[in-house]
């Protein structure tokens, strides 16, 4: 036999949803088979009547009426005794912040975020990165298995928008003091890095820290950035950023073996920074320096060199900047090996460079009789010496070519070798001097690398004096001459089509994380504002719908 008990609270107003909740809570109590909690309006009383819960008493519409039906008196009383507690019970649901599912919502939540970290499965990664670009954000693209074509598309779009894509397959970066992905905790300092971003960057940043210096920024580019197809899209932007970053005093560029034709633009961009720059491109001839560039052989060397340069910065003459006009080197060599060495040393520094002793096919000179851009000629090559003496003995060919270059309005610097010794011409300096003087008259600087000894029959000192009187800059040996040449040449005016705003490197950047939740936790631990996106494959991974969505967004097909 069940027991029905009721309770009336005069003038106690509760919203109906609160009462429905109370009713649900009462029903959950032991021994309760039905319950009603209502403001006692006529309509509600009727409802109670329908379920045989209407009590005998007649409360008014402003009164709270609570009715329970229970298995026994005790259960009913017990339930009614708990009403106050149930009414005042607060849900302890945490004031958890909203976790957006879309990048767009995350951006609305954290509009200041400059960076989006993407670590979703590769087949979805390009889509998320494109969406980030659409929303005006820069991307740290940790995901791998992104196609080359997707990378090309992303980086082209980023370049047009003045945004940076670090990646794909970018494992680490340090931006504004915050490590993205797998960064080491290193102190802040004056050295800025650009690297494919994996262990290379981690090795160099850690070494720098060990040596007592620190990192301003470490920008990752992704492992394929220096491949031909990608053409250093991110690397060039990153170098330009570090050029403008006031916290970066020394730059380090590290990379796995680059595609040779990509190295030129990278080195040119590095030169254009005017900041001491350590270059460690695996496979590139290491050692020595030209202008602000210092070539390191290993990752540790690169770190040590960078630290040294940051502690004792060399003074650099500010380079002239050329746009059109006299800007090219013309190297006219009598010695084949010297010509080859020059091509080897300058091929990435001076671009484009052509030669009849080309190392790479694209350096081949179309017509040996006509120079193009930077040209290095071995005038002792067979094409020139057919039917005549070698230029070490007969200066006629070199003098004529020297005069030809002097008349070329694009010539800026002429480099000659002068090889003394037994069997060579008895006084080559005197034969070359008038043409050097003629070139000087056009504002062309001639640099001569003299190879010889004081004991040579031509007398080194006299040869040097003759050349200097003609206006030439004379250096003993090729190395010194090359350094002079590079310093004398104006830099090509280079600019990034759309600059990436320096604000991307701001202190403790706000970020949006899409993918691995651990990255968001790491960012939060570094006091960076971060919104984590509760990402799922678009359209539940349905290929057909995904295709339609992509086409509708205009990001595909």
């Amino acid at each position: 036999m069940s027991v029905t008990l009721s309770q009336v609270r005069k003038g106690a107003y509760y919203d109906s949803v609160v009462l429905m909740q109370l009713q649900r809570a009462l029903l959950a109590l032991p021994g309760i088979s039905d319950a009603g909690a209502v403001m006692a309006t006529p309509v509600n009383l009727e409802l109670l009547e329908a379920s045989e819960l209407r009590p005998g008493e007649q409360p008014g519409p402003d009164d709270l009426l609570i009715v329970v039906r229970a298995d026994d008196q005790e259960a009913a009383q017990n339930a009614l005794a708990q009403v106050d507690e149930l009414l005042s019970r607060r849900r302890t649901a945490p004031q958890g912040t909203f976790r957006p599912k879309s990048l767009e919502a995350a951006v609305r939540q954290l509009p200041d975020a400059a960076w989006v970290l993407v670590s979703v499965p590769g087949r979805f990664a390009a889509g998320v990165a494109q969406e980030a670009l659409r929303l005006g954000k820069n991307v740290f693209l940790y995901s791998d298995n992104v196609s080359v074509q997707d990378e090309v598309d992303l980086k082209r779009r980023a370049a047009d928008l003045g945004r940076l894509i670090m990646g794909p397959d970018c494992g680490t970066a340090i931006i504004g003091g915050v490590g993205f992905g797998f960064a080491n905790r290193v102190r802040r300092g004056p050295i800025g890095l650009v690297g494919a971003s994996g262990t290379g960057l981690q090795a160099v940043t850690s070494s720098i820290d060990t040596l007592g210096s620190g990192i301003s920024q470490a920008i990752g580019t992704g492992g394929r950035d220096l491949h031909t197809e990608i053409a250093a899209g991110t690397t060039l932007q990153a170098i330009d950023l570090l050029r403008r970053d006031p916290d970066t005093r020394v730059i380090v560029i590290v990379s796995k073996p680059p595609s040779p034709e990509v190295v030129g633009p990278v080195v040119a961009a590095a030169m254009a920074t005017g900041k001491p720059t350590v270059v460690n491109l695996i496979g590139l001839p290491a050692g020595g320096h030209v202008r602000n560039l210092h070539f390191a052989a290993t990752l540790e060397d690169a770190a040590a060199l960078a630290v040294r340069l940051s502690e004792d910065p060399p003074t650099l003459e500010p380079a002239q900047v050329a746009s059109g006009g006299r800007r090219f080197l013309r190297g006219l060599f009598s010695g084949g090996t010297l010509a080859y060495e020059t091509v080897l040393r300058l091929q990435y520094v001076l671009q484009p460079l052509f030669s009849n002793v080309a190392i790479h096919p694209w350096q081949a000179l179309t017509d040996p009789l006509r120079s193009q851009a930077h040209t290095v000629l071995d005038l002792g090559a067979d094409t020139f010496t057919v039917g005549r003496l070698h230029p070490m003995m007969d200066n006629d060919l070199r003098v004529r070519r020297l005069r030809q270059e002097a008349e070329d309005p694009e010539t800026s610097v002429i480099l000659l070798d002068l090889v003394l010794g037994e069997g060579a011409h008895p006084d080559p300096a005197s034969e070359l001097a008038p043409a050097i003087r003629q070139a000087g008259g056009h504002g062309i600087q001639t640099v001569v690398a003299v190879i010889g000894t004081e004991s040579d029959p031509q007398t080194l000192a006299e040869q040097v004096a003759t050349l200097e009187r003609s206006g030439a800059t004379v250096k003993i040996g090729l190395e010194a001459a090359l350094e002079t040449v590079v310093a004398a040449l104006p830099l090509e005016a280079r600019s990034i089509p759309v600059e990436v705003p320096l604000s991307v490197l701001d202190e403790t950047p706000a970020t949006i994380n899409v993918g691995l939740e651990g990255f968001a936790e790491s960012l939060a631990a570094q006091n960076a504002h971060v919104v984590h996106v509760d990402w799922r494959p678009p359209a539940g991974g349905d290929e057909r719908l995904m295709g339609i969505l992509a086409r509708m967004k205009g990001t595909q097909g």
């Binding site: 949803v17 429905m20 109670l48 004031q95 939540q109 719908l545």
Partner: protein, 415 residues
Amino acid sequence: MDIDKANQTAAERMMESRPMLRGVAPAKDVIPGMDGRLLLHAGPPIAWDRMSGPLRGAIIGALIFEGLAKDDVSASALAASGEIRFEPCHHHGAAGPMAGVISASMMVYVLEDVTHDRKTFSNLNEGYGKVLRYGAYSDEVLQRLRWMNETLGPAIDAALAGTDGLDMRATIAEALHMGDEGHNRNKAGSLLFLRFLAPRVAAAKLPEATKTEILQFIGDNPLSILNPVMAACKAMTAAGHGVEGSTVVTTLARNGTDFGIRVSGLGDRWFTAPAAVPVGLYFPGFTEADANPDIGDSAITETAGIGGFAMATAPAIVTFVGGSPADAMNATLEMYEITVAEHKIFNMPPLDFRGTPTGIDIRKVVELGTTPRINTGIAHREPGVGQVGAGLVRPPMAIFEEALVAFAEKYGMAE
């Protein structure tokens, strides 16, 4: 084609729509295409044999009310005979809560969108309890309907006659600041409605007892303004409909059997699937087993950017969404993810006066797997019992996917 731009256009039109409540008139005099053999109903098109209990009950009640049948048996026979046509309210510029049945002689609110020069309509709200919109058709129900038709309707019409009308967009905006979300909670808005009507009804040449009765009825019913709000939302969404290339949803409606949507850039085509039973809280003595699948045109409020989308501003009814104010906040934040705009007029103090999420984008719904959240009343599955609870319902994902594919086919993006 620029879908984003088309969607912005659709959303702008929705937000610029300014529906004024102008008057009350018999449906046959004002609703285009209305006649004595036509009954309007909520949701997408449906034939008698597939109608759910509450909708059938409302149809029966309307036929008796119109004098076309004398009781439920003859009304059912007439309804099944094919002599009566059934068409969605939405095909006639109208929207009705729950069963949403409107017959020729029923009094309806007449709204005029002064921005887009369009009229929209809704019936008069009967209050809680046994009511036609939940399929009840007892004498008591029909008697109330007659009183509403003969006394209430003309009185409201007279009160509105000397004015420019009630600016519904402004009224909704104000109610949102007073804890209403405009769908399940219309307490504040209904009191604003009463405030507008009271002095005018008081000044009318009517017996004192009638005036008291009218004002009592409006004041006692916390849903008094729901129907004008729905007609206003209908005006807004109609303004956003028909934008070439737009993926914005302009109709969300249920007939108790099917859930249907229409999309701005896809003409008048409905995409439908079986409606779900809402998840919610039940009145004493009722459980989910008593519930009818989702019914009513009232999801027009969510379509226009209020209702479930404005939960953040209605803390009094947070229990529907989990119980804490944070849940209400998250409900609104979730809807920002599938909408194209933040409303210019409707904003929410708890979100620092951010505009409500407006303009559901089928692309975002499908991409994120997030369907719109709709606050709703729950009808008993049998005609005549009435409301048994209130809660939350989401439309089936399939209709958004189907609409997306149809859009891609229409605009050459399918392959």
